[in-house]
Amino acid sequence: MSESQDLSYPPIDPVNFDLIIVGTGLSESIIAAAASAAGKTILHLDPNSFYGSHFASLSFLHLTAYLTSPSPLPAAVTTTDSEDVVVDLLHQPLCSDAEITSYDEYSFLCENSRKFNIDLGGPRALFSADKTIDLLLKSGAAQYLEFKGIDECFVYEANEGLANVPDSRGAIFRDKKLSLKEKNQLMRFFKLVQQHLDDTQEEKISKEDMEIPFVSFLEKMKLPPKIKSILLYAIAMLDYDQDSNEVCKDLLKTKDGINCLAQYSSSVGRFPNAPGALLYPIYGEGELPQAFCRRAAVKGCIYVLRMPVVSLLMDKVTGLYKGVRLASGQDLYSHQLILDPSFTIPSPLSLSPRDFPSERLQLLSQRDIKGIVARGICITRSSIKPGVSNCSVVYPPRSLYPEQMTSIKSLQIGSNLAVCPEGTFILYFSAMCKNADEGKNLLKAAMNALLTLPVSGNTISSVQSDSEDTKPIVLWSALYIQKLIMSKFELISSTSTPDGNLNYNDLLDAAEKLFGQMYPNEEFFPKATSPEDPTDEDDNGVTLDS
């Protein structure tokens, strides 16, 4: 059978839907699953041949191709007389400034390309007790997924290298890098937080203290800089230097800091076989959107991959959205439309009829860009910490160099999570930044602190030794810059891009909010599973429990 035959889809039937969604990123997929569960008829499209959009996990060669040559939209099909005003969509890649370097074993990486599932939106993990886990359970998506615990969480300390994040009483006790005094201070602080959270305890943190910056509260508690840094950046996972008023965009209040601590510590040990606070999905983060899409499909959502939307159909008189035109030329209609954030509308509109009310549409061409995040990926042959396969690392502000104003997050994932061939590791890095140069410098400093990026021409094999201090040698690396775009509810809604956080909490909140705006009378995943679901009939949940 020829390739072209494979891709000649039958026309999509029906042609009217409650909702059309373009893009299968995490946010779009969650909304598809939620709206399907609420009984909406949905068509879910993606121009790519894979699920996940900016949240996909790709093979080695696929990732390289994706970062270097993002696929453009096919030319809009100009069909004749339409009752509607046809507005062509623009596709603007979210990722830019890709810098890919191949150091060694390129042919090995190519031959094993399909054994890689590399996250586009990394580093990303879940806290065992965060709302993502609750949503996976509530939506039923959890039954398609398996996770493993991240073995260790580290914080990078200037001149000292990696130190364990002391995230529980036991961890503090075992810690080898903290002094006895520091251990006592931290224990006392944890106890204070625990008392505050415990409803049966009288002793609380004062209301005034709850409203002051967390960093000031930690100072008030007389915690030394090292402990402060661990709490702010490795446990509360803040991006910006909390001590610098000029640069800090995310100054955290004590009450929110306490919540972060609570989430972290209730994550530790939630699942018996996860040693730390973090979980990572087997086969990579791209499994998450696929699980939500399958949930949606089970509830009747129609899926069509490899199908670009090229134009919007707008009502001539009212200027309101009516439908979309596909690359196949077919016109489809829906009450509402969600576009993934890489789509925009050209401004000013060309070719619109003279009296077409285009003002509202113009709004769509203005995207709410909140900032940019630099992302990096390295493939290595050894772990940054001998004996540890999967681990996270946070580099607090100023830990790498004095001008470092944001923290850098990193995650190393090994082959036992089925994301890379045996004997290799993938490391992800991300940092919020002002521009591409600053971002790349941050990531390069973070990489150089723990890894060896060979200078081209060097013979690598001779350098390698078994000494514990030897930094892993990077086989391949990629750096790229991604815009952060917020979701919005408009004439046509759009979802948000992957953010700079390690977990998914903000993305979930945004998706839930957008769902609520679109369907104010519908519950976001009602609790009871619907009785018509045939899988619930006669088995007793073998798949979930063991």
Binding site: M1, D6, L7, Y9, P10, F50, Y51, R114, K115, S128, A129, I133, L137, A142, E146, F147, K148, S168, F190, K191, V193, Q194, L197, D198, L261, A262, S265, S266, V268, F271, P272, L279, I282, Y283, G286, Q290, C293, R294, A297, V298, G300, I302, Y303, V304, L305, R306, S415, N416, A418, E422, E532, D533, P534, D538, D539, V542, T543, L544, D545, S546
Partner: protein, 207 residues
């Protein structure tokens, strides 16, 4: 060590829309058949306990959930399958011609370590239709194709009548069991968040 994962066998059913994938599953697991065809909505996976050589296994049979209609099954669907069932309708030539496509799609997406020996089973369904008079794919032709692809076991079935369905799935279970898991990740320390995590302490540090 036999892990929990080993006791659970994942079987996926592939084939063109309308060949009877969901009906076969339902007939096998629930002994039910509905004459009223609608493109699959609401089918996820069905599980059935099977006994084999004194050991109990759980067969987890995954439906395409309708995502095959526009060839939009994601790679997650294929992952970790222990056996792949290819279904066609003996009354529709195109559904038979497409078996090749579905088999190749499986091998690409699932990329099993030993593609030559990965267990497939082929089912020619709907042999009851019109007393067999509307049949366009002969048993001989189907068997020849199966032989050419490394002797894939072949069964002719009627999900409607329940004919040969039990026998076909016994073969499917047996072959799924023979498929050796390849990945080191199937050690018993994977976490399904739906199990085990419920008995949670409410808040606070571990101190």
């Amino acid at each position: 060590m036999a892990s929990r994962r080993r006791m659970l066998l994942k079987v996926i059913i592939l084939g063109d829309s309308g060949v009877g994938k969901t009906s076969l599953m339902n007939q096998y697991v629930n002994r039910k058949f509905s004459n009223q065809y609608k493109a699959t909505i609401g089918a996820d996976f069905l599980t059935k306990e099977v006994q084999f050589e004194d050991r109990l296994f759980t067969l987890q049979i995954w439906d395409t959930a309708g995502q095959e209609r526009f060839q939009s099954l994601g790679v997650a669907f294929y992952r970790g399958a222990d056996c792949c069932v290819l279904v066609y309708d003996v009354n529709v030539m195109k559904s038979f011609d497409n078996l090749n496509h579905w088999r190749e799609e499986f091998l690409i997406q699932a990329s099993p370590s030993d593609p030559e020996n990965f267990p497939f089973v082929v089912l020619g369904n709907k042999i009851d239709v019109d007393g067999g008079n509307s049949r366009v794919v002969s048993e001989k032709k189907a068997k020849a194709w199966c032989a050419s692809k490394g002797n894939i076991p072949y069964f002719e079935t009627s999900a409607k009548e329940g004919f040969n369905v039990e026998a076909a799935f016994q073969c499917i279970a047996k072959n799924a069991l023979k498929n050796e898991p390849e990945e080191e990740m199937y050690l018993p320390d994977t976490i399904e968040v739906g199990g085990g995590g419920r008995q949670q302490r409410s808040t606070g540090c571990e101190c």
